[in-house]
Subunit: 373 residues, 2 copies
């Protein structure tokens, strides 16, 4: 596959770096959320991996990061080339519609023709070249006025992801893998997922959105007028001395809603949403079972180990060990186990129950032990 030459014109990447990743507790914490971890053993945090992946398409000046105020220093340390104009700090988390919408509104004021592409800071994509080709196709489709997503060709009947049902092919030059989106479907059961996989018409919803900023904002105006209005007001003040006051006055009042509901699903229903069929390895690493799969390359009998100083002694055991200490971790006869060893908290569960880790996080919240979250 040939590398894409040069950046895409009028293209600006947005990296929302927000979610803690509570199903990855106690590795992921409020202070050290998932995107600040190296989950692949690449030596780079997921945030930095994301930056590196979009850099050839957007250039360092063309990447905006939306993150919490608490993470400013960590983000800047990870991304030394991130410019001041491209940092959007949230005083409190407001879900993806507000985060991506604000970035789009700011960028739209600066350049009315901008095409924005939003890419989560905490997903894993191991084939950057194929990813960039898919984005280039999505940008071509977005230029035609579609809000565009990139769906991932499923490789197994996953019950952990939402799916996109592809509709008719779209004839757009430079986008041979473009379709209309017929509809989104929530995480299915195994039987349904197996049927989806067999049909070939379903793609994993990877939560990437590429669109002309004006189209994205127009869709928001239709479905979330209050949010849209607030975002425009903040954007108008953003590059002025009034930024702080306006943000403080408006941001806390904005509704919290995922962009899937405010933009993607309404646009799909209106026939305005396109999808590029992406054929590259992708994972949102939503829990420790996904992490085990990712690290072991899918070999179920393996014991995957993550941690710079990990010292693990295993006797016929499989699963995943995450070590953030120098302690010796010994496993005897435990299968599909998940052991996460951090200085102040230890988690032991199984891959089967990895999704239930959130219940621990909830219990810790209830116990008032926020220091552990």
């Amino acid at each position: 596959m040939q590398a894409i030459e040069g950046t895409l014109s009028n293209f600006h990447a947005i990296i929302p770096a927000g979610g803690v990743g509570s199903r990855l507790w106690p590795l992921s914490r409020a202070e050290a959320p998932k995107f600040l971890h190296d989950l692949t053993g690449s030596g780079f945090t997921l945030l930095r991996d994301t930056w590196n992946r979009v850099l050839p398409l957007a250039g360092a000046d063309g990447i905006m990061v939306v993150t919490g105020r608490a993470h400013r220093a960590a983000v800047q340390q990870q991304l030394p080339d991130l410019t001041e104009a491209n940092i959007v700090l949230e005083s409190e988390q407001k879900e993806s519609s507000a985060a991506i919408g604000l970035a789009a509104a700011i960028l739209h004021r600066r350049n009315p023709d901008v095409i924005v592409g939003s890419f989560a800071a905490d997903h894993v994509i191991t084939d950057g070249e194929r990813f960039r080709h898919a984005v280039a196709e999505a940008v071509a489709v977005a230029r035609e006025g579609f809000i565009t997503t990139i769906g991932i060709k499923p490789t197994e009947p996953s019950v952990g992801f939402g799916y996109i049902l592809c509709g008719d092919e779209l004839a757009v030059e430079g986008a041979p893998h473009a379709h209309l989106v017929q509809r989104f479907v929530e995480k299915p059961d195994l039987e349904t997922a197996t049927a989806y996989l067999a049909s070939g018409d379903y793609l994993w919803n990877a939560g990437m959105f590429i669109s002309r900023a004006d189209q994205l904002l127009a869709q928001l105006a239709e479905t979330q007028p209050v949010l849209h209005e607030g975002l425009l007001e903040i954007a108008a003040a953003w590059d002025t001395p009034q930024r702080g006051d306006v943000v403080d006055a408006i941001w806390p009042l904005l509704p919290k809603i995922a962009i899937d509901y405010s933009v993607a699903e309404p646009a799909a229903a209106a026939g305005r949403l396109a999808v590029i069929r992406g054929d590259f390895p992708w994972d949102d690493v939503g829990d420790f079972s996904s992490l085990a799969k990712l690290l072991s390359g899918g070999r179920p009998g393996d014991l995957a180990i993550l941690g710079e100083h990990a010292r693990v002694l295993a006797d016929s055991s499989s699963g995943v060990v995450v070590s953030q200490s120098k302690r010796l971790i010994s496993l005897v006869g435990v299968h599909d186990i998940v052991v996460v060893d951090t200085p102040d908290a230890l988690l032991v569960t199984t891959r089967e129950h990895a999704q239930r880790v959130k219940s621990v996080v909830d219990a810790i919240k209830q116990a008032g032990r926020d220091d552990l979250l």
Copy 2:
């Protein structure tokens, strides 16, 4: 049950405090062996529990402890009433025949009529009164010239203990539960253990031996003449200024053999071994599965927790957690699990595989990481 009044005349208890308990690693260590731990949550170490249990029978002056030089300070801290004359320090571990034999030889020189009773420092017995009644019976039988053990009436078909097959009843006054021992049998398989339990003729071998010291030494002389000779030489020098020189010259050369093979089995074969049928809760807490059973009172669905500062958050999990840190330990959907959390080592296994913990210890030895043992 009436308490036994006063100490038993000419009776001296011996507490061999030797074994590390490697199946309880990383809780048990060379520096902090099993007998120095409180495994019952009683607030007392097993060693101290043992002392307390025999104290009414022997008095503080009548209890001798045989332990490694490295544990002298810890033992004295646990047992402030232990007298200097009652401490026997081993320069290197020589198994139970040498340890108990030396204590018996020393005590015999001091009092030719002494009856010694040997009780492991790291077993758990929760009914001290019944235990003492059994010992009193054993002493009565020992006065008649028998080497006497106390067997435990089995409560389940355990495959973790050796068994004693009872022979004919013995008519000894003050010992209504005395029998001859027909033979010892090694740890059986489950089917055999079930048959043993059903027959009513088998008892668990709890490794307690009560005997006139001269009888014990005579048996040793028959089966282990070199060992016997060496022990007498050391005992002769023990209460003299030559102790150190003689010990240094002889102890390293003594054979290592368990007292079961040097004394108990030969005595049984010769019709000289008696057993008291003991009916009290006893456990040698040989591995973490035994510990789980002990702590949960046998309820299999329970999660047992051991540790002064243990903070455990469990979501539908069972087994045992041992905590030696202040870390939060969270378990999600893990059953019959064993988690042992110490500052420098973590063990995760299952009750089913608890016996295999020794393989970890062996692997650590091979890796030259003796600091972890």
